[in-house]
């Protein structure tokens, strides 16, 4: 049977990047416990709109936990209290009548607030642009089965590739480090033979971009792994570091001539 509950929300409201921002209290009345967390916010938003107040802006799209759009800090935890679950897949049955819920945007220097709970995560895109790909033109690919990949490697690569780029790892980290995000892509491609030829360049460029964006360093707090909705393991960060050390041991001019080729 559905339960109905009344909640109090403390929501971060900020009109734009220049605005100071502040918490505002809202009553969320008659919330059905079958609702998703975002549906609860929809209901609050419809209510606000009826009163002529601006609705709370938040990013969302698939609402299935796969696009990585949604992201908010719920009671201090990125994506909220359920393990391996994005905010859009969080359901209200985890809350109870009378609960007070604090909702904030991702907080990190590299993620400026756009409005309310919406932040600018383009820094993550730029890390991928720095080298998170295999350079293969459309049409240039060899027959797919001409390159067997051991199942174990492929499975491990997948575990890294499953990252949805939501940025929760950054939001959870006391240093606002993007190490888990960056390591996931580096590992995905380093574990596969297709990623081999560009491996050295890739790790150097992606790590350099990560630093240039103003993300902090990893000091092994492991908060990122705990909040990652896709359970990406911090062992990939160790892998990234090993990849980097190996890449550093290659003479820079060798790298130069390689990247020219």
């Amino acid at each position: 049977m559905a339960r109905s509950m009344n909640l109090v929300l403390n929501v971060w409201r900020q009109k734009n990047a220049k605005d100071q921002g502040r918490f505002v209290r809202y009553d969320a009345k008659a919330i059905n416990d079958h609702m998703s967390f975002l549906e609860m916010l929809d209901v609050v938003n419809e209510d606000l709109a009826h009163k002529g107040e601006e609705p709370i802006a938040f990013d969302h799209d698939c609402r299935e936990g796969i696009c990585g759009s949604c992201g908010m800090v719920i009671n201090g935890v990125p994506h909220g209290p359920a393990k391996s679950t994005t905010a859009c897949q969080l359901h209200m049955r985890l809350f109870k009548d009378g609960d007070e819920i604090t909702i904030e945007p991702w907080r990190a220097g590299a993620f400026p607030v756009v409005r309310d709970l919406v932040v600018d995560r383009s820094a993550l895109d730029r890390i991928i642009q720095a080298g998170g790909y295999v350079s293969v033109r459309a049409g240039a690919a060899p027959e797919a089965n001409s390159l067997p990949v051991p199942k174990l490697d492929s499975d491990q690569a997948f575990d890294a590739a499953t990252c949805i780029g939501c940025g929760a790892c950054v939001a959870s980290c006391p240093n606002a480090s993007a190490a888990l995000f960056t390591a996931a892509k580096i590992s995905h491609l380093a574990l596969l033979p297709q990623g081999g030829p560009e491996r050295t360049d890739r790790v150097r460029k992606m790590v350099a971009q990560m630093d240039a964006e103003g993300f902090g360093h990893c000091s092994s707090h492991k908060e990122c792994e705990a909040v990652c909705p896709k359970d990406i393991s911090i062992s990939f960060i160790a892998k990234m570091n090993r990849e980097l050390i190996t890449a550093m041991s290659v003479a820079p001019n060798e790298i130069k001539s390689r990247s020219k080729g």
């Binding site: 802006a57 895109d125 690919a141 690569a157 499953t162 780029g165």
Partner: protein
């Protein structure tokens, strides 16, 4: 206008090769002088933009999300078809072609479908080379499964995240081009209109979703890959932002809209739990391999704990009605039978708007037969997802399922080159109507999006560009300024209504109307009712809409209002098309046209054509243009699953 499909003739195996050879080329040194606009960064748009960039064109790509990686394609679960015949089970390009034409209920163009089947093999090569981690066997070679009732195992998959992995592959290639500055990405930017100068597409007008700034972007060619319009039904399995604005606005500028009534329903989605529901979640079709569908025989049992309902009191209606196919009947049949049961008052689960809409999908027998571990191995991730959403454990309580809108076969009409009826406007992916006829087979949308993006558009758009001089129209052109002015006026109009109802409430009401009268089963009376009702609701929208805030800022209500406004117009056209098509075909089921067994009945003599609708003016009836279909290779037959 006479519709020319420009489909090549001659032996079907040679048509694409021939067309490629005849295509004109642009000199590599000249390519950067050509501006190419791609709207959309899903599988079709992402692949197209990356490939145009690789070829050296000057590309601008647009999406409404904050990153191109989040396009709706990311959500596809099941897999992608390709005629590799790695399983040596008798598959071939010809068989995939045959299955797709037949699956589309003989309402697609043979030439296009053959090309799609042909290119399917290149797609897999491309994606593997990018590092897409498809499922592999212990040999290290690629694995396959059979999907959606196909008799061969031709589906490639990446756990339950095939769309995600394919999209990330395209996104990574796109990222490389962004880094190389051949592509400029415009995220959080929505296309609100198409710029047409002297009958030729010359650019788009966009709104920056963060600042509200309206601007014009001119180009030598415009490629729309903006996805499907399933959200006209409000509740669907599509992402929340999916919309018809890019395609609808282009339609109003002269692009014909083809077969809007061909919409697909997916039988296994998690039912609605209340009137606050914001979207529906699809559960993989594979569940029907082991799950048994039933409803209680007695109305008194509807609210009873299903575990306590004895076998004798359960109606396994699919097994009863279709003894040979049972729970594995095709999507549309499974969907309609579920609706029928619920209409009869036999649905289970919570009551929403007075009706219980759900049927049981029971794994009790599977657990007994195979053991819990074997069931877990096959379905555990799906069971977890179900439990997260419903709070019920499918190992103990039967799942509840109900059909939902999932995909739209209709879309902008395109010729063989994927060019619309506007010169210089190309359309790829779910946004066009081209390859799936009246019904799409499982795992074929990803294939089509990538075929269009990586392989078809790069050839056909280059061929087009080779015939035009680059540049010519810039932002100061009067037609460009006029279009920008019209967009601003439209935004102004929405902002200044200052009524009482939110855009969300209108969209929801429109969606309910569409689902009730133009959903799984359609009738003449119902469609006529909807056609009377939609204009009323639309009039109320323009008289009583309320948007808080201003247009010069991030405004989620304004975004929603613009999309809803376009859905109203598309909804009307969809109902009109459904009314006009006096037959049942694929996803379009007219109750008046069924066999004695309740199966869809096509009328090939009268309706073997593509309905391409032409916009004739505000509040004027659209004009129907027909592209006749002929079948040289696969001869139309009536299907039977009894």
């Amino acid at each position: 206008m006479q519709l020319d499909s420009r489909a090549p003739t001659g032996p079907i195996e040679q048509r694409w090769n021939e067309a490629r050879f005849k295509s004109k080329l642009v000199n590599p040194a000249n390519r950067r002088k050509y501006k190419v606009i791609v709207v959309g960064s899903g599988l079709a748009g992402g692949a197209a933009a990356a490939t145009f960039g690789e070829l050296g064109y000057n590309v601008s790509c647009f999406c409404y999300q904050d990153s191109p990686r989040r396009a709706h394609s990311i959500a596809a679960q099941g897999g992608i078809n390709a005629a590799k015949n790695y399983q040596n089970d008798g598959d071939s390009v010809y068989r995939l072609f045959y299955d797709t034409v037949k699956g589309g209920d003989f309402r697609a163009r043979e030439s296009n479908v053959y090309r799609l089947a042909e290119l399917s093999v290149n797609i897999i090569d491309q994606c593997v080379a990018q590092g897409v981690p498809f499922a592999r066997e212990y040999s290290g070679l690629l694995g396959n499964r059979s999907f959606g009732g196909a008799q061969v195992a031709r589906t490639f998959y990446a756990r339950g995240q095939t769309g995600q992995q394919l999209l990330l592959g395209a996104y990574q290639s796109l990222s490389k081009q962004i880094e190389q500055r051949t592509v400029k990405m415009h995220p959080r930017t929505e296309m609100l209109d198409l710029i047409v100068v002297d009958g030729v597409a010359r650019g788009i007008v966009t709104r920056d979703l963060v600042t509200g700034k309206v601007s014009a972007h001119t180009a030598d060619v415009v490629v729309l890959c903006s996805g499907g319009y399933g959200n006209v039904f409000y509740l669907s399995t599509n992402a929340k932002g999916c919309n018809t604005t890019a395609t609808w606005r282009s339609h109003r500028r002269g692009a014909y809209f083809a077969n809007p009534c061909f919409t697909q329903i997916h039988p296994t989605c998690i039912p609605q739990s209340g009137d606050y529901q914001s979207k529906l979640t699809l559960m993989s079709e594979s569940l029907r391999n082991d799950g048994r569908v039933w409803v209680p025989k007695n109305l008194a049992d509807l609210q009873r704990d299903p575990k306590n309902i004895p076998e004798a009191d359960r109606d396994y209606y699919l097994e009863r009605q279709y003894p040979s196919f049972g729970n594995l009947v095709p999507r549309d049949i499974a969907s309609r039978r579920a609706k029928e049961m619920c209409d009869l008052g036999k649905g289970v689960g919570p009551e929403v708007a007075g009706v219980r809409r759900g049927v049981y999908l029971d794994f009790g027998d599977a657990v007994k037969r195979l053991g819990r571990d074997a069931v877990a191995e096959r379905y555990d991730n799906l069971f977890q997802m179900y439990e997260r959403i419903t709070g019920e454990n499918p190992y103990e309580v039967p799942m509840r399922m109900y059909p939902a809108i999932h995909y739209t076969m209709g879309g902008l009409w395109v010729d063989y080159n994927l060019m619309s009826t506007i010169t210089g406007l190309f359309v790829g992916g779910e946004a066009n109507f081209s390859d799936h006829g009246a019904n799409r087979l499982g795992a074929s949308a990803l294939m089509q999006g990538l075929a269009d993006g990586y392989f078809v558009l790069p050839v056909t758009v280059s061929n087009y560009l080779a015939g035009v001089k680059p540049g010519g129209v810039d932002e100061s052109h009067p037609d460009v300024r006029r279009t920008v002015g019209e967009v601003e006026a439209r935004i102004q109009r929405l902002m200044s209504i200052r009524g009482k109802r939110t855009p969300e409430s209108f969209h929801r009401e429109l969606g309910t109307l569409m689902w009730d009268y133009c959903g799984m089963a359609r009738t003449e009376a119902g469609l006529k009712f909807a056609l009377a009702k939609i204009p009323e609701l639309k009039a109320e929208f323009y008289g009583n809409l309320s948007i808080v805030g201003s247009g010069e800022e991030y405004n989620i209500m304004l975004e929603k209002a613009g999309r809803t406004a376009d859905f109203f117009e598309l909804a009307e056209l969809t109902c009109r098309d459904a009314l006009d098509r006096e037959e049942s075909a694929g996803g379009h089921f007219r109750e008046e046209h069924q066999t004695e067994e309740g199966e869809a009945q096509r009328n090939d003599d009268a309706f073997s054509y593509v309905a391409a609708w032409e916009f004739t003016g505000e509040s004027l009836a659209p004009k129907l243009n027909k592209e006749p279909l002929s079948f040289e290779y696969v001869h139309p037959s009536q299907r039977s699953y009894k």
